[in-house]
């Protein structure tokens, strides 16, 4: 395996990690106004992700940084091409991050309500990122100079929008299961009920999105049959998750949603490989892991750095979850 492929996989891992971690994070943010009936419950909900949201978000930042380092042309074409998408995502992330820190600092109910809705919106918008990511595979107008020639509207095609819906529903589902594990008593009961309600719609939309993708992209002609196992297993994993919910096996439900996310992201990356952005104008103009990459030297340096640092990061992030493993309830002393 060459370093270009290794970095392509690493970017995939970073995106999967981001969707797994920020997925429940965004889910909790979107559920906040609906599950949080009073201020006390809302704070319990926010506190489940309170110590972690910032570290989770760094997965996206790192994915961006790694794109820049390993595939500068991918970074340049995607960020300048999908301009409005990233303007909105950035604004969402800005106000969302601030909302966490500002919300409780004043007693006023209006002040808190304002930031709760900011949290909701700030979680909803980045949940729509799958709209943009699906377009990498579907193909967007990229010319011979690697320049994006479309607009925001180009990205809003039907299958992409279904992926957007899948993102929102999936993260709501993921967030509700996360809350079932991180809370207890009435808060947990409500979260569980919500998760059970969300299960079927999420499964249906995911199935539709996967079928639409198979029909509107070139995977059908490019993939050996065995690869279709990936999306199939994603659906199976989500199915198991739903069944585990019925049996109140929330740990299994959580893990299987994680597997679903991993399999969906792998499907996307297997669909792309060795391309990173498909050109709808001319297949020769697609950006690939070779035409979009940094020099071999830079990739080698970055590999050493990643090899040294990633295991350490994983260890201490896991440790931070272990520190806050206790379930939260209404009466929890959620001290500072």
């Amino acid at each position: 395996m060459d370093l270009n492929t290794l970095w392509f996989i690493l970017i995939g891992v970073l995106f999967a990690g981001f969707f797994f971690l920020e997925g429940f994070d965004y889910g909790v943010g979107m559920l906040l106004p609906f599950l949080g009936k009073d201020d006390r419950v809302r704070r319990v909900l926010i506190n489940t992700v309170g110590p972690h949201w910032d570290g989770n978000e760094v997965w996206l930042i790192t994915a961006g940084g790694a794109l820049f380092a390993a595939f500068p042309h991918w970074y340049a074409t995607m960020f300048s091409g999908f301009y409005m998408v990233f303007v909105l995502v950035l604004l969402a992330l800005i106000v969302r991050g601030v909302a966490f820190e500002f919300r409780s600092k004043l007693e006023s109910a209006r002040w808190r309500n304002l930031w709760d809705w900011v949290l909701f919106t700030g979680s909803l918008l980045p949940s729509l990122l799958p709209v943009a990511l699906f377009n990498l595979l579907r193909g967007v107008p990229i010319d011979a100079k690697m320049t994006y020639q479309g607009s925001l509207v180009t990205l809003l095609n039907l299958p992409a929008l279904v992926w957007g819906l899948a993102g929102v529903l999936g993260f709501l589902f993921h967030g509700a299961i996360f809350l079932s594990l991180k809370t207890a008593e009435e808060v947990a009961a409500q979260a569980r009920a919500t998760a059970r309600e969300l299960w079927v719609p999420t499964l249906v939309v995911l199935l539709v999105a996967l079928i639409a993708s198979a029909l509107t992209t070139d995977v059908a002609t490019r993939w050996p049959t065995a690869l279709f196992l990936l999306p199939l297993l994603a659906v199976v994993a989500l199915g198991i998750s739903g069944l585990s919910l019925q049996k109140s096996r929330f740990g299994i439900a959580f893990v299987t949603v994680g597997i679903t996310i991993l399999l969906v992201v792998s499907s996307l990356f297997f669909g792309l490989y060795p391309r990173v952005m498909v050109s709808s104008l001319n297949s020769d103009w697609s950006l690939t892991i070779y035409t979009a990459s940094s020099s071999a030297y830079t990739l080698r340096i970055m590999s050493y750095i990643a090899l040294a640092l990633v295991p350490v990061v994983l260890l201490y992030q896991a440790w931070s979850y272990w520190v806050f493993r206790q379930r939260l309830v209404r009466e929890s002393p959620l001290e500072y």
């Binding site: 704070r43 760094v58 301009y83 601030v98």
Partner: protein, 458 residues
């Protein structure tokens, strides 16, 4: 306005705004970690109270610093895609390393610190703040390594119209970083020191309930301020000497030196008229030979003027305007240096008063320290404006011009939209943030504890 101007304006606004919050996150975690360590070692509850008090202000400030940093990281691709293509091989390395080594560290452990007061053993809890301090300062190091390449390209080769990294060791030991990083680090420490002194002064004046806490804080602030403010000037001086070698045009602009001189005179006050690369002196009060002294530590030695360098660059890089905004470079430098010396003076008085235990007997001085919180901010901003504007027309010195770096697909309309969007959100957040900072700064430690007991974290 054309796209380049709009993109530059956007970058300027987002960067200056971001750097409004960064220096405090460089310096304050170190001081909070020291306070908490003293608490752990001595068991003295006062140190726990001040740890929590300053920690709270740190957290409010930190959030905005983090989220505005994300904008910068994505903006290189959004507005400056040609820069990203040209420089990705080099710039992406420190940027990705920054994310891996620092962003994870600071954000994870700040989360643990905030929520971990009763979950971790005391020593381990203090250690998490040390890790936050390590993370934020490592982050500064990596991003300055990236910036240093833009000031002084090293360890690269031009291959197929792109800069390619050839020597990672040279990249991270760039001669520019040797003075730039200590300068930024110490200015962060000074910012934190005056932040602590100013707010403590307010509480000492108000005779707040918890005098001991603010007296101890003031003492920590004063000692840090004097060490930091002297160091920041010393390394700043070394940095300017380095710039005279590596970026002579920036040096000429910040001294408003139109003609080359040997020995070179130092400008006390200058006004120049600038029309593109055409610069002429209107007012110039100069002291002979002092610029040579400052540059070379002796009373002779040539410092080159704007005209000579412009002529040389036009020959080397092709006809163009290679003169940065002279008046802006000149005044930002003087504002920064002036603020720096004022800070040393204030720190000196503070330390003497602390030494003689007379701080509260000079209320006028305490009153002065409150607005003095703003001085380091002014100096920090002026310093960055000089660093970045003084490098123009280059985005990467000698390699790529700013006007060639912009995204070809992003229209002025999109730029105006995102500019307005970001600026208004930033404006709103700035107001909310300062409001909260002032509110919590005015509350003493006691009020804060009451609020905490009544309230949950978020």
């Amino acid at each position: 306005m054309d796209a380049v101007t709009l993109a530059r304006l956007q970058f300027g606004i987002t960067t200056v705004y971001h750097f409004f919050f960064v220096p405090l996150t460089l310096g304050l975690p170190i001081l909070v970690a020291i306070m908490e360590t003293v608490y752990v070692r001595t068991g003295n509850e006062v140190y726990k109270r001040i740890t929590k008090f300053w920690g709270k202000l740190l957290v409010i400030n930190f959030a905005v610093g983090v989220v505005t940093g994300i904008v910068l990281e994505f903006q290189f691709g959004m507005n400056w895609s040609e820069y990203a293509r040209f420089m990705g091989d080099i710039f992406g390395v420190p940027l990705a390393t920054e994310a891996l080594s620092s962003f994870f560290l600071e954000s994870t452990f700040l989360g643990v610190w905030i929520f971990g007061w009763n979950k971790l053993p005391k020593g381990l809890h203090a250690a998490t703040m040390w890790l936050v301090a390590l993370g934020s300062n490592l982050s500064g190091l990596w991003i300055l390594i990236a910036n240093s390449f833009m000031q002084q390209p090293v360890g690269y080769a031009l291959v197929g119209g792109r800069a390619q990294l050839t020597d990672f060791g040279a990249l991270i030991t760039n001669p520019n970083i040797v003075t730039q990083y200590p300068h930024v680090l110490t200015s962060g420490i000074v910012t934190a020191a005056f932040f602590i002194m100013g707010i403590s002064a307010y509480h000492l004046l108000k005779k707040s309930y918890d005098r001991e806490a603010f007296w101890k804080s003031f003492r920590i602030g004063a000692i840090t301020a004097i060490i930091g403010s002297v160091l920041v000037i010393l390394v700043g001086h070394a940095q300017t000497q380095h710039i005279a070698q590596s970026q002579p045009m920036k040096m000429a602009a910040l001294e408003a030196l139109v003609q080359s001189e040997d020995p070179a005179s130092f400008s006390l006050f200058s006004i120049v008229r600038q029309d593109g690369s055409d610069v002429s002196e209107l007012v110039a009060i100069r002291i002979p030979a002092v610029l040579s002294l400052l540059t070379y530590n002796r009373f002779s030695g040539e410092v080159r003027g704007i005209e000579d360098i412009q002529a040389e660059y036009a020959g080397r890089f092709g006809r163009d305007n290679y003169v940065p905004p002279v008046m802006l470079s000149y005044f930002t430098f003087r504002i920064m240096v002036g603020a720096g010396f004022l800070l040393v003076l204030l720190a000196l008085v503070a330390v003497i008063l602390v030494w003689r235990r007379k701080v509260e007997r000079v209320p006028l001085f305490l009153k002065m320290l409150i607005p003095a919180i703003g001085l380091p901010y002014i100096a920090n901003t002026a310093g960055w404006l000089l660093t970045e504007m003084g490098r123009q027309p280059w985005i990467v010195y000698g390699l790529q011009k700013t006007k060639d770096a912009i995204s070809p697909t992003v229209t002025p309309g999109m730029l105006v939209f995102s500019l307005l969007f970001f600026t208004s959100v930033y404006g709103g957040l700035m107001v909310a943030d300062i409001y909260l900072l002032i509110r919590f700064a005015k509350w003493g430690t006691a009020e804060q504890e009451q609020v905490e007991q009544a309230a949950l974290t978020y």
